[in-house]
């Protein structure tokens, strides 16, 4: 599985959406189910899938699908 496939699968499972919903509009303020419970579950799944530990301040930055991708690339060297 590619990194993108892994990440998309996590988003689809956590937020119960189809892959086609994952675009620049997938932002915490637009996604009804995106609350702290879902976000933390997403973080846990990402940490496990990519074998990393995220910094607390980075978790606060994970406010959209695009943000998550950018952050993983810039700080954790995961390329998509």
């Amino acid at each position: 599985m590619t990194n993108l496939e892994k990440l998309n699968q996590i988003f689809c499972e956590v937020y119960s959406v189809e892959e086609s919903a994952l675009n620049e509009n997938f932002v915490n303020t637009n996604v009804e189910t995106w609350d702290s419970i879902h976000q933390l579950s997403m973080v846990a799944a990402i940490e496990e899938a990519f074998d990393l530990m995220m910094d607390a301040e980075d978790i606060l930055e994970m406010t959209s699908y695009e943000n998550v991708k950018q952050l993983l690339t810039s700080k954790y060297e995961i390329t998509f």
Binding site: S16, D35, S36, I37, Q39, L40, M62
Partner: protein, 457 residues
Amino acid sequence: MFLELDRKDRQRIAAIDDSGRSLTYGDICDFSKEFAKYLPPRSLIFLLAENRIGSLLGYTASLSNRIVPLVISANTEEGLYGHLYDLYKPEYLWLPESKAEGKEVVFSAWEYCLVKTGNQATPMYEELSLLLPTSGSTGSPKLVRHSYRNIEANADNVRRLFKLDGTEKAMAILPMHYTMGLSVIASHLLAGATLLLSGRSLLDKGFWAMLKESTSFTGVPYSYEILTKMRFTRMDLPSLKVITQGGGKLTEAMWNTLAQYAKDNDKQFIATYGQSECTARMAYLPAELALDKVCSIGIAEPGGQLSIIDDNGNETFEGEAQGEMVYRGENVTLGYATCREDLLKGDENHGVIHTGDLARRDADGCYFIIGRLKRFLKIYGLRIGLDEVERMIKTEYKTDCYCKGDDEKLIVLVTDTKLLELLPSFIEEKTHLFHQRVEVQVVKEILRNEAGKVINQ
């Protein structure tokens, strides 16, 4: 006036919300007078709550003017909202501007609107002050009926147990429609303190900025899971004096983390216990016992009394015992309502409540919850009524099912494999319980004994 709001320093800040705006005690009093011009005392009003100033003012103004609010989340699922509306037929609504479109708005302030529905008035018991759903989530129209004295007794008990005064700045993140959320609000207003009212996610930067200013934080077990994930124990939070918890049981590991953190950083960790049937708080463990009495709910709060009724029906107030825990106090609510006519009912509990929780009392008089007699789970502080979830599934899918579980996970037994995929998202939609905490198991048959009790547990 309600909570002696008119006897505080008018200039003192009562609340600050996520918008950054603040509200003084004087503003609260003035707003109450203004509000009273638009609706008569003993009106029934639905308060669609969000944790912000407009919502708070609807609450204080209603209670101050003997208007009776039913407080529910502004995000209440449509089906449940419609059900409550049809059942109780409120004469007024106090709701966020964004939800008032197309309705007859008679007054608005702080991005909240007062809407007149056209429903007729209904007679209500004269001491009835407030209605709250028993489980905000599982679609039950069953409400808890509070008296004016209940709210004041709870506020005063909590004020005394935390020794609150006007210098406090309480982080108020628990939802207003949640009994503990209202308890934080009422107790701090009674003390003349400042509420830091936030509807933000605990994973929002704004929340952390507010937390740095606060003197106390009240959370449910899940709040502390987030806080520890964010490694708050390593943060510099000099203002924070008290961390307190209610809404279910912490794990032993989490308990020890919090108790040790408090000890090492010169803070207090105070665990509490309560139910919406008793206007939130009922028991607390004094901070100095946190490391000795792990996972204990402690002793009755000031103004309350706990006891245990053992298997032989003997009630005792001290010494070691095990059995159903019973509470007495002025915060024991009047009873339930399941229809509009019930709003006329008086006090059915008479200050005594059988909690439905099994408890053990140790030789020092500290109580420990060891089980539950009633069929509900508490996950993320959400009270999930098992009978109600079963009823929802049966109605929607016309199939037999059985719910069980613990405070980590809801388990649903079904016979139809099709439901394996459908149920988690259905339950999340209806109850807001995160779908990954729902486990569906397919069984051949749901076996019941002659009494109708499910036996393949």
